[in-house]
Amino acid sequence: MRFAVLVFPGSNCDIDCYKAVEDTLGEPVDYVWHTATDLSAYDCILVPGGFSYGDYLRCGAISRFAPVMAEVAKAAEQGKYILGICNGFQILTEAGLLPGTLRRNMSLKFLCHDAVLRVENNETPFTSDYAKGEEIVVPIAHGEGNYYCDEETMAKLKANNQIIFTYASNPNGSLNDIAGISNEQGNVVGMMPHPERAVDSLLGSEDGKRMFTSILKAWRDRHDAAVVR
C-alpha cells in the first residue's frame, strides 16, 4: 500500500505523518509537493497539519486551489482513502470534499494539549481497529477547530453516521462536540486532533496508531478481495 503525504508551503506536520506511516506500518510513503498533478500511484493520501499559505484569508482557502487538490478530488471520487488532519481537515472542507467549516475557537485561543476523543463510528476504513465508544487520547493543536455546519447538514451527518470522533470535553465550541467527520461515502475523513503525534508512548500516547493500522487493514481487505475475484 502506497501513502502520499501532501506538502504545501507552510505545512508543518508532514514529517510527523510520514514518520507515523513509516514507523507504524513500514509501508512505502512519499512526500508529494502541492504542484503535483498525478496521484494515481497512491492508495491513501494524507493531508497534513500546519499553516498552509499562512492561513491567509481563511485556513485552507488558498491551498484548496493548489494543483494537487484536483487530484485529491479525483482520488476521493475513486474511493481512495483520504485523511485530512488539522489544517488538512480545513483544506478538505474548503475544497468541498467534506461538509461544514472550521471556525475560530470559541475561546479565541490557540489550544495545544491532549484531548480525550470518543470513537463514534468504528465502521470506517480509518477506525476499524477501535471499539465503538472507546475513549482515546490524541493531542490537539489549533486556533480554528470549531466545527460548524447548518442544521440540514448536521442531520445528514447524524443519519449517515458521518460523525467519527467527538471530544469527551469540548475544547473549542464545535457543534455536537465534533472532532472528526467523514464524507458520505466514508473514504474521506477530516479531524482536528493529531493521530500522527500519538503513535508511540514516548510521545505521550499511542492511541493514534490504530488509525494507521485500520487504513492498512481496509486496503488489504479490499485488495485481497480484488485479487481473489
Binding site: R103, M106, S107
Partner: protein, 80 residues
C-alpha cells in the same frame, strides 16, 4: 474600476471575536454597545470599465474564494 468587498459572518453564526471585542468595549465604559460583529474589508482594483461585467466577476470571486458561504455573507460596491 475599484471594487470594495465586505465579508461578514452570517447572523445565524456566532462570532466569538465580535463577542470578545464587545466585552472589551463594555469593560472600558462603552455600555451602549449592544452587539458587534467583525468582518473583512477587501479593496480590489479591476482593469475594466464594464460595470455589468465587473459585477459578475466580483460576485464570482466572492463565491469561489473571498467568502466561505457556509458561515459568511458578502456584499460589494463598485466605484469609478
Amino acid at each position: 474600476m475599484k471594487a470594495i468587498v465586505y465579508v461578514t459572518i452570517k447572523q445565524s453564526v456566532l462570532d466569538p471575536q465580535g463577542v470578545a471585542v464587545q466585552g472589551a468595549l463594555h469593560s472600558v465604559g462603552f455600555q451602549e454597545v449592544e452587539s458587534l460583529r467583525i468582518g473583512k474589508y477587501i479593496e480590489i482594483e479591476l482593469n475594466t470599465d464594464d460595470r455589468a461585467e465587473a459585477e459578475k466577476r466580483v460576485a464570482a470571486m466572492c463565491e469561489k474564494l473571498l467568502a466561505n458561504t457556509v458561515v459568511e455573507e458578502y456584499r460589494f460596491e463598485l466605484e469609478g
